[in-house]
């Protein structure tokens, strides 16, 4: 059934109420204007953890809520509506997925309760080049002692600048482009040889550029299987992509809602501009597109709840569609607001900037449309 159940609807209502009260768009502005280095508000993150959000995907026995991907997606969607900044996606969605599925008992004991309590932030470092492509992982992991020495670079690591631990995709064998030979490690960002540079991003949040210079890791730092990490990485990315798709539909719905409200109030040529059919039809078309994207997102989240290892097509469908639709929503919002839409004073531009980051991260619409096509046999 492509509808929310009672519990999910309650979570949605609670999440909406919470972000609108505690984290309206004005909070993001404040973070930006005050140049808060973290790129998010730690007190707010604690409040979110108190709501149980940090543990939304952590199993109940490890102190989490075990609410599943639909629940996580609903929270992402609401955050997309107010541009709430938090380590939710990196930590509560992606790292929780990685560790609960593939962590060693020691890793689980150490990190899962800490994630659920909102005490640990964990980033995932995959990308190295201009465009997302996990199979092209080149960061080198050479056997050394009872472990490996890592050298190379990771870019655009979301929340990497504030992380207590970092999941790193590294090449333990093979050459860039090959699916085999990639492994995932969980490392301490203070390890010698690892330098972290904060990058202020377009969306007024933060990411890190990580440079690895013979960073020593041990076998105990390995998450999942040696050389066979890509499958796990894809599952972790799948969770992140679906979360971003949900955020993008939240973003699109909010900019669209604001645009329709503006169409109802702005007067030109002696009438409200919302009465002009040229604008009505574009607004109606955009509404249809958003409806289509929402279905794809809900279906992807449900597919993840059924089996994250078998959700790749659904997730790519959702990310491809949501990214294209959110882009259209941002463009139309600016255009239909006229000159005022170009100003920093109203929020539309902030939505457009967050859209661009979310659309690009972990594969843009082209990347995912390509995957859909391959999965469909062409």
């Amino acid at each position: 059934m492509l509808v929310l159940n009672e519990d999910q609807r309650m979570l949605q209502d609670a999440a909406r109420g919470f972000v609108q009260e505690k984290s309206p768009v004005a909070s993001l502005r404040k973070l930006r204007d005050q140049h808060v280095a973290d790129g998010f508000d730690r007190a707010l993150w604690r409040d979110m953890a108190d709501m149980g959000w940090a543990g939304v995907l952590v199993p109940e026995e490890a102190g989490g809520l075990g609410f599943g991907y639909v629940g996580a997606g609903l929270i992402c969607e609401e955050m997309g509506r107010t541009l709430a900044a938090s380590p939710f996606l990196s930590t509560a969605v992606m790292a929780a997925t990685a560790l609960s599925r593939a962590g060693t008992p020691a890793q689980k004991d150490r990190w899962l309760p800490a994630i659920a309590a909102g005490e640990a932030i964990i980033a995932t470092a995959v990308d190295e080049g201009r465009k997302h492509n996990p199979a092209k992982t080149a960061l080198k992991a050479e056997a050394s002692g009872n472990g490996f020495k890592l050298s190379g670079e990771k870019i655009q690591v979301a929340d990497g600048h504030v992380a207590d631990a970092i999941l790193v995709a590294a090449r333990t064998a093979g050459t860039p482009g090959e699916k085999d030979g990639i492994s995932l490690f969980l490392i301490d960002p203070k390890t010698r040889g690892l330098s972290t540079e904060r990058v202020a991003t377009l969306d007024s949040r933060g990411a890190a550029r990580l440079t690895f210079d013979d960073v020593q890791v041990t076998g105990a730092d390995l998450v999942g299987e040696l050389d066979q990490g890509l499958g796990l990485i894809e599952i972790v990315l799948g969770a992140g992509r679906a979360g971003l798709a949900a955020e993008l539909t939240g973003n699109a719905q909010e900019t669209f809602g604001r645009t329709v409200a503006y169409l109802r109030e702005r007067k030109q040529f002696g009438r409200t501009i919302g009465a002009f059919q040229a604008l009505q039809h574009r607004a109606a078309h955009l509404f249809c597109e958003i409806e289509i994207a929402r279905s794809a997102v809900l279906s992807a989240l449900q597919a993840l709840d059924r089996d994250p290892a078998d959700a790749a097509l659904s997730v790519s469908l959702a990310k491809a569609k949501a990214a294209d639709v959110a882009r259209l929503a941002a463009q139309e919002a600016i255009q239909m607001h006229g000159g005022i839409g170009m100003t920093d004073a109203i929020d539309i531009g902030l939505f457009a900037k967050r859209m661009q980051v979310a659309a690009e991260l972990y594969g843009d619409a082209d990347f995912h449309a390509d995957r859909v096509a391959l999965a469909r046999g062409f």
Binding site: L2, R264, A275, A284, F287, L374
Partner: protein
Amino acid sequence: MDALEAFRRDTRAWLEANCPKEMRSPIRGDGEICWGGRNWTFQSDAQRVWLERMAARGWTVPAWPKAYGGGGLSHEEVKVLKEEMAAIRARSPLESFGIWMLGPALLAFGSEEQKKQYLPPIARGEIRWCQGYSEPNAGSDLASLQTKAEDGGDHFIVTGSKIWTSYADKADMIFCLVRTDPAAPKHLGISFILFDMTWPGVSTKPITLISGKSPFCETFFDGVKVPKANLVGTLNRGWDIAKYLLTHEREMIGGGAGGLLGGRSPGQVAADEIGLDATGRLDDAFLRTDTARAEVDALAFALTMARYKDEAAAGGRGVGDKSSVLKYYGTELNKRRYELMMRLAGHGGLEWEGARSNDGELPRAWLRTKANSIEGGTSEVMLDIVAKRLLDLPSA
């Protein structure tokens, strides 16, 4: 959940035992559709047997009440039935305007007598219906129609003409919008009546379309005597029924047009006809990009149709004005899909006559899809409805 699983098991077994082998392949073109009706000649024994067996279970209209020839199935059970039919590629046993449009309207607005009289023959495929809505000067502005039905005591006298009446020349009966009060505001003087196409005064004239096929007619009424018992609902309040029926029609057109079931998707056709490169990608970058985006939209659209139906079932209501979303998106998508099919076919899509191309099946289908965004309300009218009813934007 267990009951539903049991239903699935039984349905699968029944379909396996009862669906003839010949009925387990996608329908190719209009010629293979079973429309039924008084004068219907079955294309094969298999087609007849399949219809009879499905009708006997009420599965030509699985969601209708059993009392009216339906299957009395729940929303969930209908879904299971459709899934199981799709799994063995079973054809639809019967298509008809009676099922898509008139039936739901009669269930909502008809008297008990009318339901008993008209619904079971629709379910069994015995009576074929056509839709008398549009007139030469009342298309998008449907409520401005002029065909009049004057009071003749125990009957109406219907005079006027309709246009674009699909299959009027093959239909047994017509559901028709007529003006019963010329003095009233245009929405308040319309009634919804049913009558027989063989009655004196009814005549039809085919209209040839750009596809070269002609299932369309002009329909003329010259003093047709229609008993008052054939009025559905309240006199002069036919517009409510007309609108209700249109939401079903739109949902159906949108859904049927956008779906990927039955035939192959453009992506699959492309893979077969154009071939793949060493990485498994279509060997034509431009076509692949367009096809991939269309595939994304088609899959997401199919999910939206499913979501709307699930939402409607959960809320115990119909899809309502959101049928305009489906109608608009599904038909525009279908046009895109056939544009792609023509590009994929290349020179192969240019042949109009001759056995090799099955008399130009593809280009004719391509041309036919151009009507998808016109029939049942144009895309512009759908966008107007979305803007006004779903987005609450002001009128000019």
